[in-house]
């Protein structure tokens, strides 16, 4: 392997070992996959202006498609991807970005200006990968053309001095052997062909016939497939971004959802999305079961299983189907996937206003913030009269109090459910029709009715308990408890393409890294003393540490072919030894 290694190691230097000018040149070209960066010499620099615009373009193209540039862009891409893990990203979590900018008024806006919160759609990141892909295309096309030609052409001519190639072997057949130089070459060609080589027998009319053989065209093909597939992956991602959509929906037990735009809590369409793409399915959450670890001392209360029992319908008139949704087991309905991404408690609450009418009745979604499902809750009651009412606080499934009387959640299961709420009265700001976050209530302009600092105290409610608000503004009742699931509903038409192309890329990568592209030449001649002399040599194109093993295998094949022929006396041990063979470098 040392020989190949040396030639491979320094393609710019002289692959002196090969000693074959054409092979060596081609070798260097192949190794330097991308076009060799031809930097104009100083003399050319002087005459450059005459090249004009086209010349400049050509020069720029050569630079862009050079291996050096590709490598530089590749490393730049790695560096450019890093900030996306250091700063919060808008596509993943817009609220955190807003908070970050508020918390860092000095640096935040500047970071935003440089698109550090949208790294992967930023101008600079896009510029890097687009340049990289252009460079890749500029590299792949000429290589594909070259490979197409290579696949259709005959193996290269037999070098004059085989002994100077990295792997060389020779053997001499006994004088009595019926194998002439021509039959020897033909035999070798047959053996090599069976070994997967493409062969050409040449010079059968001369005294030194030879066979040229080459194999491993899949190596370069794999390389090309790999790079083209990367373009395919990029296109698939783009297709997903154009025609896909992604929406979120929270469903409380007993409630249902119809796949229409108004049905979503949150919806991010692709650039070319149209509402007609929404499959007309509907689903209902019948039951949601949660199982927590009750055996482990160290992981007590850790979730073990989430199972949502649903009833789905493919369309308004379709028959309802019972289906189970779990984490890692999405539902597939009409080309759309439904994922279980979150869950929590929705206490059922009834609010009666000052006039004694029911102003709110039903489950209120609370947002869990820790493993014990300590959940924050906001309830806005705009229908309450004479004044609108608002409630903000915590829901604890299993509430305990510490020595100071502060309540805390101690278990995710509802063993002792409690609501801890503050109440407010006043204009909730919902009447103007502006969209407002249902999980946030701005209490700065509201009158405080109940909280810890007031004489009236905070509201603490157990199941079936009712609290009467001060000033005769109404009552609040904790009727019961339901669970809810948070669903992600997505459609990504590019997904299949991405999988296909990445699989192709992997296959191409394996072919390009593990297949050896090799050339073998076998030449035969007749010694003045009548013996048939055979010599052969191997040359690898690209890195190939198995070349020596291949040389050994070929030697064995040839020896087996000629030294154990049925028409020869088998007991002639001298003859096996007479094949005076010598190898270099093995």
């Amino acid at each position: 392997m040392s020989e190949t290694a040396k030639t491979t190691r320094n393609p710019a230097g002289e692959p002196a070992e090969s000693g074959v000018p054409d092979a060596a040149e081609e070798f260097v070209r192949q190794i330097d996959g991308h076009k060799t960066a031809t930097r104009p010499s100083a003399a050319q620099d002087v005459t450059l202006p005459s090249l004009g615009f086209i010349g400049m373009l050509r020069w720029a193209w050569t630079q862009l498609t050079s291996m050096r540039t590709a490598l530089f862009l590749l490393l730049l891409l790695a560096v450019a991807a890093v900030p996306g893990s250091l700063f919060p990203q808008r596509p993943a979590n817009p609220a955190v970005v807003t908070q970050y900018i508020q918390d860092n008024p000095a640096t935040g806006p500047w970071l935003d200006r440089f698109q550090l919160f949208d790294v992967y759609s930023s101008v600079w990141f896009s510029a890097i990968y687009l340049l990289l892909f252009i460079s890749l295309i500029g590299c792949v096309i000429p290589r594909a053309i070259q490979h197409w030609k290579a696949m259709r052409s005959q193996p290269p001519r037999t070098p004059r001095r085989l002994s100077r190639l990295p792997e060389y072997g020779a053997l001499a057949l006994d004088t009595g052997s019926p194998v002439t130089a021509v039959t020897a070459v033909e035999n070798a060609a047959r053996l090599l062909k069976r070994r997967g080589y493409r062969v050409e027998v040449r010079g059968t009319d001369t005294s030194m016939p030879s066979v040229g053989a080459e194999r491993g065209f899949l190596k370069e093909l794999g390389n090309l497939v790999f790079h083209v597939s990367l373009i395919g992956v990029l296109v698939s991602v783009a297709v997903g971004g154009l025609f896909g959509y992604r929406g979120q929906k929270v469903i409380v037990e007993g409630d249902s959802f119809v796949n229409t735009l108004v049905g979503y809590d949150n919806f991010s369409p692709g650039t070319n999305f149209s509402e007609t793409q929404l499959a007309p399915f509907s689903l209902q959450l019948d039951k949601f079961q949660v199982q927590f670890d009750r055996e482990s001392k160290t992981h007590y209360g850790q979730p073990l299983d989430f199972t949502a029992t649903m009833t789905t319908k493919d369309g308004p008139d379709a028959a309802p189907r019972p289906q189970t949704l779990k984490v890692n087991e999405p539902l597939e309905i009409g080309g759309t996937q439904v994922y279980l991404v979150g869950n929590g408690y929705a206490p059922v609450i009834t609010v009666r206003d000052g006039d004694g009418n029911i102003a709110h009745q039903g489950p209120v979604v609370s947002v869990p913030s820790d493993g014990a499902y300590t959940s924050t809750m906001v309830l806005k009651v705009p229908d309450a009269k004479p004044e609108q009412l608002g409630f903000v606080g915590l829901f604890l499934p299993t509430a305990l109090e510490n020595e100071k009387g502060v309540a805390f959640g101690s278990d995710p299961d509802p063993f002792n459910p409690r609501l801890y709420l503050n109440s407010y009265a006043g204009n909730l700001g919902l009447d103007k029709g502006d969209p407002k976050n249902v999980y946030v209530l701005d209490t700065t302009k509201l009158k405080v009715l109940n909280d810890r600092t007031q004489k009236s105290g905070g509201i603490v409610l157990g199941p079936k308990e009712t609290f009467t608000l001060p000033d005769g503004l109404g009552t609040i009742t904790f009727d019961g408890l339901k669970r809810y699931v948070a669903l992600d509903i997505t459609s990504d038409p590019g997904q299949g393409g991405a999988l296909l192309f990445s699989t192709l890329a992997l296959a191409g990568l394996c072919a390009s890294l593990f297949i050896g592209r090799r050339r073998v030449w076998v030449r035969a001649g007749t010694h003045p003393d009548g013996r048939t002399m055979v010599e052969w040599a191997l040359l690898a194109r690209g890195e190939d540490h198995r070349l020596a093993a291949e040389a050994t295998a070929i030697r064995k094949l040839l020896e087996k072919e000629w030294l154990a022929r049925p028409d020869r006396p088998a007991d002639n041990s001298k003859k096996a030894g007479a094949a005076s063979s010598g190898t270099k470098n093995s």
Binding site: A12, R68, A78, V327, D488
Partner: protein, 347 residues
Amino acid sequence: MPSIDETLGQYSELFILLAAMTFTVALISFCWDLATASKTLQAVEDRLARQQAPAEAALVGAGARNGAAAGAGSTASAETGLETAGDSLDYGGRRRPAARIGVALAALGTLILAAGVISRGIAAHRVPWGNMYEFCTTGALVVSVVFLLALTRKDLRFLGSFVIGLVVIMLCAAAIGFPTPVAHLVPALQSYWLIIHVSVAVISSSLFTLTFAMSVLQLLQSHREARSRAGQPDRLGFMRLVPTALTLENVAYRINAVSFVLWTFTLMAGAIWAEKAWGRYWGWDTKEVWTFVIWVVYAGYLHARATRGWTGTRAAWLSIVGYLCVVFNFTVVNVFFSGLHSYSGLN
């Protein structure tokens, strides 16, 4: 869900501690091997040098000492006279008792570690790679098994102190940094993709660990070769047991090529799992970002090997940077960055 066998889990932890101790002694043996090899050779050379004419010894320096010191398994470069291990990486040459003890202890440690890892899997009724502690211990097991398997074919004992050193670090990190009692998996991890994605990631990382050690040695060796060419004295005597920088580079390249394919598969399997679990195959989660960065760095490494002026030392640096990214991705990203991959098992 079957109950966790906590007693077996505690035995598993004991096994792993015991393995860590065994590996520590193996590490000492390997270091001893490097040190004594360097020292005994030095003594032989000094004696040789004294026998020769002082002037000549001073003039030819490293060049004079070759045959006597160099065993069958090592070579002395004709050009510089610098002695290194043979390029074939075959066994042979001088006896190295300390290295033999090191290999034996490493094998013993691997057996104990395997017992620890397997018993943890049995205790939990699942594959033992669901949190940082388990990644570390399983990763250490894979590293040591791969190293021992490689040793059966080639004499890579020169890597012993580095590789076993990393194994010891991983086991200490597991036992001290990320101790996690055996438990069930959270629902997000209950998928057969855990078996596929994480196991391939661990194997790939283990191979990167080997090539990292080789690349570091390659840099040291090429530094040593450069000094030798400049006629300066050899200060890194223990590097005599290590093959030439070129050999190291080629072997590291072969392993990195395999590992890059595995890493590509890790990335793809992760994407498929992400699609199943989170509804998108790629979302630039911090872990995904770093997995991508690692992939790009090693892709850069493979390209560098085919770019003029980027082979040798620069490629080795890329391999090292890639491995540092792997370590960063495993430690800092898991522990300090928030993201969907927050399964470290740490609070």
